[in-house]
């Protein structure tokens, strides 16, 4: 794998799942990508849904995705074409949901401080580095099983491809 290049949307600390995908839609919108994408970040940044482009990445501060366990807070970003969320830290359930839905999540506090909305960054998953404006930022390598799940596109396609444990 080589470096991939991405345009940045930058947000602050403690962005919660209610502003990423409002709770009022959770039992009427579940898998329709167009509907999910239309409401992505609705109560955080009303300009996002109309202007996001495939391959964009979100950079955010501490505790991205705190609050509800709703998976649409991940899948709405995938539906909007978001390639990855890079944050100083993630809320626990969001982190699991992201991997299980096939959204790349990277914890890398230093890069979050130096990048702004509209900047271009490059991500190299093999060397676990992010490049921006001549600077290189390291992030901790993801465990192989996590990479396998991400490669498969999430836990469901992963389980489809890998018949589940011991010949069951």
């Amino acid at each position: 794998m080589t470096k991939t290049s991405h345009r940045v949307w930058k947000y602050g600390d403690k962005v919660n799942t209610d502003v990423i995908f409002p709770g009022k839609y959770t039992y009427t919108i579940s898998q329709d990508p167009a509907a999910l994408a239309r409401h992505a970040l609705e109560d955080l940044d009303p300009s996002f849904a109309a202007n996001a482009r495939p391959g964009d990445v979100i950079l955010a501060g501490r505790n991205w995705g705190n609050g509800s366990s709703r998976e649409q807070a991940v899948t709405c970003l995938l539906a909007a074409g978001v390639h990855a969320v890079i944050a100083a830290s993630f809320a626990r359930i969001y982190y699991r949901n992201a991997i299980n839905s096939g959204l790349l999540v990277i914890e890398c506090p230093p890069v979050v401080e130096s990048v702004e909305t509209g900047d271009l960054i490059e991500i190299d998953l093999e060397t676990t580095q992010i490049y921006h404006a001549g600077q290189t930022y390291e992030f901790p390598p993801l465990p192989q099983q996590v990479l396998d799940i991400l490669d498969a596109g999430g836990i469901i396609p992963y389980l489809q491809a890998n018949s589940i444990r011991d010949g069951e």
Binding site: K24, E42, R92, N100
Partner: protein
């Protein structure tokens, strides 16, 4: 090796002889919780090769998030869930009006001391007040869990919170949790377990204890727990006798056997001491739970509507405290009261609290989550200010991004609806 309560619980759930923080363990949860999201989980599940749910008896499905259904789409969602329940033979199914999953599963003895619950809901740590392990996960993981019966978890470090003393009149465990979340921030316990301990717990009622473990979701905790004591066993004894008279004694005996306790010299990553008598009424201000102020510093802030309910503060004690405040008074503001379960509602009717609330001008909703996450039954208008006993005040949470939500204990909510502005309960009761 010595273990915290959470380590003991994950030892049992994983079948290992011991675990330590950082270990990745595969657990077989005793209970897999889902609610109105069960139809969506079923859709995901059907993409898996298994076809059959591995342990249908371990599933527990409660219709609570939008009940009764506010739209035809919500009704269709419920209908799909009923089909799934029937086709897969799910016996732990609780219909519209029974109450909120976290409350109902405790009342019904589906979860109890020593057990492990994984739930498609972020307030799944709730059941930890009974001495259980409870953690929230997402829909896809629940689908995988339905198929395989197991899931990997990382054993978390534990924060121990030692409580001493006794809460003052008008102060509740809600105030304690709001203060704690203000101090430690919304990520103060991310990836960690919280264990409540100390002599102060014995003075806390079951209703008050559940607030502690429930609200730790707002501090990012993976799970929160405390050991069962005489108060816990009494509550279980009484609840099970009501909800499952046919086997309440066997169930209680099972819980006594499965109950777990931390080792006296277990290692905690962090420890906080809280003097209960030093706590004062606290408020989470818009738009985050950790934007915390003392009630006394923001008194007289205008409110338009109040909400008492949710898995956090919709129990009998909460409704009783509200009734006490409004007795013989006329509310200046709308107050929506939604009991956490049908059992709570029944008890509140019997105790006369519902009549007291209605006489004052409050309205009562069907047991369930109500307007907490903006589905129905009291969503806000632009510019409105809500004082709520719920657990989240994020922008848009109650259905309207241009509204403001303050979180407080139920007595403060009731008093503020009497006054029309944020106020200490003693100011409207004329007490103290």
């Amino acid at each position: 090796m010595t273990m915290t309560l959470t380590e003991k619980l994950l030892t049992r759930a994983s079948g290992h002889s011991s675990v330590k923080p950082g270990d990745i363990v595969v657990v077989e949860p005793d209970v897999v919780l889902s609610h109105d999201n069960s139809a969506a989980i079923w859709e995901i599940f059907q993409q898996l090769p298994q076809g059959q749910i591995k342990h249908p008896d371990r599933l527990a499905i409660t219709l609570d998030h939008a009940v009764p259904p506010p739209t035809a789409k919500h009704a269709q969602n419920h209908a799909q869930i009923r089909q799934l329940v029937q086709a897969q033979g799910i016996s732990n199914f609780y219909e519209v009006g029974r109450g909120i999953c976290h409350q109902v599963l405790c009342e019904e003895g589906v979860v109890g001391p020593g057990l492990c619950l994984l739930g498609a809901d972020s307030h799944s740590p709730h059941c930890g007040w009974l001495g259980a392990f409870g953690a929230g996960i997402g829909r896809s993981e629940v689908a995988a869990l339905w198929a395989t019966g197991e899931l990997w978890l990382r054993v978390p470090d534990t924060i121990r919170i030692l409580l001493t003393g006794k809460l003052r009149q008008g102060v509740t465990t809600k105030d304690l949790t709001i203060q704690l979340i203000g101090q430690l921030s919304s990520d103060g316990a991310t990836y960690m377990a919280v264990e409540f301990a100390g002599a102060g717990i014995s003075s806390l009622s079951p209703d008050a204890r559940a607030v502690l473990t429930n609200m730790m979701a707002e501090m990012g905790a993976k799970n929160a727990c405390m050991v069962p004591d005489a108060v816990t066993w009494d509550w279980l004894d009484q609840s099970l006798a009501r909800t499952r008279p046919q086997d309440s004694e066997e169930r209680l005996a099972y819980f006594r056997e499965s109950a777990l306790y931390p080792d006296a010299d277990a290692a905690y990553a962090l420890e906080h001491h809280i003097q209960l008598n030093e706590i004062e009424p606290m408020v989470s201000c818009p738009h985050t739970v950790d934007n915390v102020k003392a009630l006394s510093s923001i008194e007289h802030t205008r409110v338009d509507v109040g909400f008492i309910g949710t898995c956090t503060n919709g129990r009998l004690e909460d409704i009783a405290s509200a009734a006490e405040i409004v007795r013989g008074k006329r509310l200046q503001r709308r107050l929506v009261v939604i009991p956490a379960s049908s059992m709570v509602l029944r008890d509140a009717v019997e105790a006369g609290h519902v009549a007291t609330l209605l006489d004052a001008g409050a309205t009562i909703g069907t047991p369930g989550c109500g307007p907490c996450m903006g589905n129905h039954m009291g969503v806000l208008a632009p510019g409105e200010v809500c004082i709520s006993s719920a657990n989240r005040n994020f922008r848009g949470r109650m259905g309207q991004r241009d509204a403001e939500i303050y979180l407080a204990n139920p007595a403060v909510v009731a008093a503020s609806c009497v006054a029309g502005y944020l106020v200490h309960p003693s100011e409207v009761t004329g007490g103290e």
